[in-house]
């Protein structure tokens, strides 16, 4: 079976400290025993304690299990084990799994069979009561949101009456307090956008443009909520989604799953309010449609590590009522490495912008859209990093993108295929394809 590459394993690390610690365990010196068989790899790692930690991974997941007390997931031992396998497969020989490994595998297999337990359908009376309760709760929430958004209308009107120059001088608490109010009003999507205001004010050249654009987007969200009942389905879903209503997975059953080979074109983990958010971008090989998979985790807790950048897997995918967000359902077979996807890529920025415009038509509140564009040349113009496409058009890279030089180095002055996130002004590259190599650029190098 194909082992994960070093880059893919590093992409699983929950934070930079784990990368370092995992690399420290990637040599066989610390491992008392090592072995692999089938989809499993395991080892006993001598830590500071008396007994070595028992670490194992299921490569098809990948899933991890370790006897160490770490709360991180995967822990450094799990990372070290897979890094060792990636760098030095000859060190990990195929053998019979010991009892502690066999047990875990058996448990996992049993678990997979048990998945989706079918609860007995409730009788008509309970069902009716449950529906009534749900409707009551929904109506209550809608009232709260309505009251909250009315306050927001006054607040944002005041802000604009006094001007953005005045708004820039306000302390961060000014925005955080309003964000907290929106959390109370059960509009977390709006709260998140309000917390972004201090960052917009501090974002350098063009801050007023960006802030006014954001304020305008909020105003339109307020209008959208007022006219929710008269909106077409797609737009109504976008408004609700932007305000912060979530769609439970079981509510997605109305949408037909799309089966395709999904290329994991890029992945990035960002921190938001003590929460780690992982965005995994998929592109269907047949449909050519992008999809966004989100995974959330409290600090040190597990993100979904089963989608690995630079691989392709076959699966049923269900889109949310939104042009991009989707849920990965049943998978078919093993993932394989992703080679150059230039065939699925846009030929230039203008094509990518057209696609972005069509996404914005369904959901004007999209904060970022995926771009896969071939023949991009990275270059630095007047100390600003840009990409230039085949027809000579320029788009700027985000200032927070750290890997400008590695990206430039990989290009060697020749155009490359780039996958990134477009925020309406700037592109943040997440991956680059050079020859048949896939190089993730979302994290830090080295």
């Amino acid at each position: 079976m194909e082992f994960l590459t070093t880059e893919q394993v590093l992409a699983l690390a929950p934070d930079a400290a784990s990368v370092k610690a995992g690399q420290g365990l990637a040599g066989p010196g610390k491992w008392v025993t090592l072995g692999r068989g089938g989809r499993s790899v395991w080892g006993e790692c001598q830590g500071s304690g008396k007994l070595p930690y028992r670490t194992q991974a299921d490569l098809s997941g990948p899933a991890f299990h370790c006897s160490c007390p770490s709360r991180k997931f995967p822990c450094k031992h799990g990372l070290g084990l897979l890094l060792l396998l990636a760098a030095n497969p000859a060190r990990v020989l195929e053998t019979e799994p010991p009892a502690w490994v066999a047990e875990w595998i058996a448990k996992r297999e049993a678990g997979a069979g048990k998945k989706a337990p079918q609860a007995a359908p409730p009788d008509a009376e309970t069902a009716a009561k449950r529906d009534a309760d749900r409707e009551k709760r929904a109506a209550k929430r809608e009232d709260r949101v309505r009251a909250g958004l009315a306050e927001l209308q006054t607040w944002i009107g005041d802000l604009l009456r006094q001007g953005l120059a005045y708004g820039k001088q306000q302390p961060a608490q000014f925005y955080d307090a309003m964000a907290a109010r929106m959390v109370d009003a059960q509009a977390p999507g709006i709260a998140r956008r309000l917390r972004g205001f201090p960052g917009l004010f501090a974002s350098g050249d063009g801050w007023a443009d960006r802030t006014l654009e954001e304020a305008g987007a909020l105003q339109w969200l307020l209008h959208g909520f007022t006219h929710l009942d008269t909106l077409p389905d797609g737009l109504r879903a976008s408004v609700r989604n932007a305000i912060g209503w979530t769609v439970a997975e079981h509510e997605l059953t109305a949408n037909k799953p799309v089966r395709d080979h999904w290329q994991v074109a890029g992945q990035i983990v960002e921190e938001e309010e003590k929460l780690r958010v992982q965005r995994t971008w998929l592109i269907g090989e047949k449909t050519r449609q992008p999809a966004l998979n989100l995974s959330f985790a409290a600090m040190n807790q597990a993100l979904d590590v089963s989608l690995i950048a630079g691989t392709v897997f076959e699966a049923d995918l269900t889109y949310y009522p939104s042009p991009l967000r989707a849920l990965v359902g049943e998978r078919h077979g093993e993932p394989r490495p992703l080679k150059n996807p230039a065939a699925a890529a846009h030929a230039n920025f203008s094509e990518a912008l057209d696609q972005t415009a069509s996404f914005l038509a369904t959901d004007p509140w999209l904060e970022r859209t995926p771009w896969l564009v071939r023949d991009c040349l990275p270059l630095c113009v007047n100390e600003k990093w840009m990409l230039r496409d085949a027809v000579g058009a320029l788009v700027p890279l985000t200032r927070t993108f750290l890997n400008t030089w590695p990206l430039f180095a990989v290009s060697g002055g020749a155009p490359v295929t780039i996958f990134g996130e477009w925020n309406g002004h700037e592109l943040r590259p997440l991956s680059v394809f050079a020859g048949d190599r896939f190089i993730p650029m979302g994290g830090s190098l080295p």
């Binding site: 914005l360 430039f408 060697g412």
Partner: protein
């Protein structure tokens, strides 16, 4: 879109004071509902609409900046496993192993993946000794890349004008490369610009004549004895003293002859050395660099004795007409014996004389190490002699755990080996280290034990990785480093 600019200006000032801007025509008709709204809501609604239409219709600007195309590589890229090892080192772990890894990479004619070149160049920018090694392992891409970054100019491909416009370091690098391949051209380059260069540049240039130094240099060097700068004159004398056929050496022989009278041992007499201290130097002597304050403030030797040391250090060693052992034995009986030994040590180092080096290391009479350190003499010995001496030293048990000075001297001597040490020697070093760390690594051996294991011949690594008391303080890291080194070297040529 200028309408957007009007909206931003109004937003900055605030709608209380600013007039509401005009909507662009196509949006105006689509948004006729806004007139009934209050002033702020209307402004925000219209701003949002203009912003969205602007975002949906964003047009990139055009640009034609030229970026040169990097040449295709002529070597193969390292394996993924090797790239992983490099990543770890560039991230700061096992950094002392980076030099060896880069040398091995270059030797096997491989190059590192482009995305790691920026981190490699950053390391090389901080650590000069890594620069040639980084260039060797960076493929053609590294030269291409470095040309675009001001901090990496040291790695950029040479351009013909660099000799005229480059920094001192860059020009020295050009000279060094030229001196290695065409020594005379390098000298001609220096001669051509000599008159117009400042003293610090002249001093740096003169030092580059040392590799491939030959008699061809003598006429140029002799003229430089009249240079304005004392630093330059000092560097020139150091070179002339290495050329036994130079007029400078002849003049020095002339001066020393009346001062030192050596009588070989005869049938009835033992060898003897009579020493007369030199007088204050005349103008010709001053021109040849004689200076009673040559060692600055020191209390070891008097001013006249300092002049004697300088004279002896500038005389060709075969002038003395007897074996070094006999001469040193005779000198040992004289009150100025240590001064003589100091002068000969200096001369042996300048003239790279192995026979004298061996005799000086074994002689009873010791040179004044405060003035001229004798340790580098070891590096002049032929390799077999060095190996035997080191093995004797290690087996002798002379190396006590707490004796940090001897350990450092050992490390210095080992570092003088080009490439890896012979396996036999490596095994002795390993045995001594195992003994020293069996209770944990003493703090003064921390860095040292790491650098010793870095030099261990790779053939020894499989046995070197085993049998350490890993639970003891610091030993675990040591073993980890050894294992990493073993794996990293192995990854270049994995077993079939």
């Amino acid at each position: 879109m200028s309408a957007w600019k009007d909206f931003v200006t109004a937003a900055l000032i605030g709608t209380e004071k600013a007039a509401l801007p005009q909507l662009p025509v196509p949006l105006d008709s689509a948004l006729n509902g806004t007139v009934t709204m209050d002033r702020e809501m209307r402004f925000l609604t219209e701003s949002g609409a203009v912003a969205l239409s602007r975002r949906a219709g964003w047009k990139p600007c055009l640009n034609k900046t030229e970026i040169l195309l990097a040449e295709a590589e002529s070597t193969g890229e390292i394996s993924r496993a090797s790239a992983m090892h490099l990543r770890v080192m560039l991230g700061g772990r096992h950094l002392p192993l980076l030099s060896e890894w880069l040398i091995e990479c270059a030797r096997l004619q491989r190059h590192v993946p482009a995305e790691l070149l920026p981190a490699l160049l950053d390391r090389a920018a901080q650590d000069r000794s890594l620069r040639p090694l980084a260039l060797g392992a960076g493929g053609r891409r590294i030269h291409w890349l470095a040309a675009y970054h001001p901090g990496w100019k040291f790695a950029a491909a040479d351009s013909p004008e660099l000799w005229e416009t480059g920094s001192r370091d860059q020009r020295v690098a050009i000279l060094r490369a030229l001196r290695a391949s065409a020594p005379e051209e390098a000298r001609a380059k220096i001669e051509a610009v000599w008159k117009t260069e400042p003293a610090d540049v002249r001093t740096a240039f003169i030092a580059e004549l040392l590799p491939n130094l030959s008699e061809e240099e003598i006429p140029f060097l002799e003229t430089l004895l009249d240079d304005r700068s004392k630093e330059v004159r000092r560097a020139v004398i150091d070179l002339l003293a290495r050329l036994p056929s130079s007029p400078f050496a002849m003049r020095m022989i002339g001066r020393v002859k009346p001062l030192l009278v050596y009588k070989k041992s005869g049938i009835l007499s033992r060898a003897s050395m009579e020493v007369t201290l030199p007088a204050d130097p005349d103008p010709a002597g001053l021109r040849d660099g004689l200076d009673s304050k040559a060692f600055g403030q020191q209390k070891v030797l008097g001013e006249k004795a300092v002049l004697l040391v300088q004279l002896i250090a500038s005389v060709p060693l075969d002038h003395w007409g007897d074996s070094p052992e006999a001469l040193l034995k005779a000198a040992g009986k004289n009150e100025f014996g240590r001064a003589l030994a100091t002068g000969w040590t200096w001369a042996a180092l300048r003239q790279r004389d192995a026979m004298w080096a061996e005799a000086l290391l074994d002689a009873k009479v010791r040179p004044h190490a405060e003035l001229i350190p004798a340790e580098p003499l070891f590096g002049l010995l032929p390799e077999p002699a060095r190996i035997e001496r080191l093995i004797a030293m290690l087996q002798d048990g002379a190396l006590k755990k707490g004796d940090s000075a001897t350990w450092h001297s050992l490390a210095g001597k080992l570092a003088a080996f080009p490439g890896h040490w012979p396996v036999r020697l490596g095994r002795e070093v390993l045995a001594a280290l195992r003994l020293a760390v069996h209770n944990g690594i003493p703090w003064h051996l921390r860095a040292l034990s790491q650098s010793l294991l870095t030099g261990l011949p790779p053939a020894l690594l499989p046995e070197a990785m085993r049998g350490w008391p890993v639970e003891k303080e610091g030993v675990g890291e040591l073993v980890e480093m050894l294992t990493f080194r073993h794996d990293a070297l192995l990854a270049f040529s994995p077993p079939p």
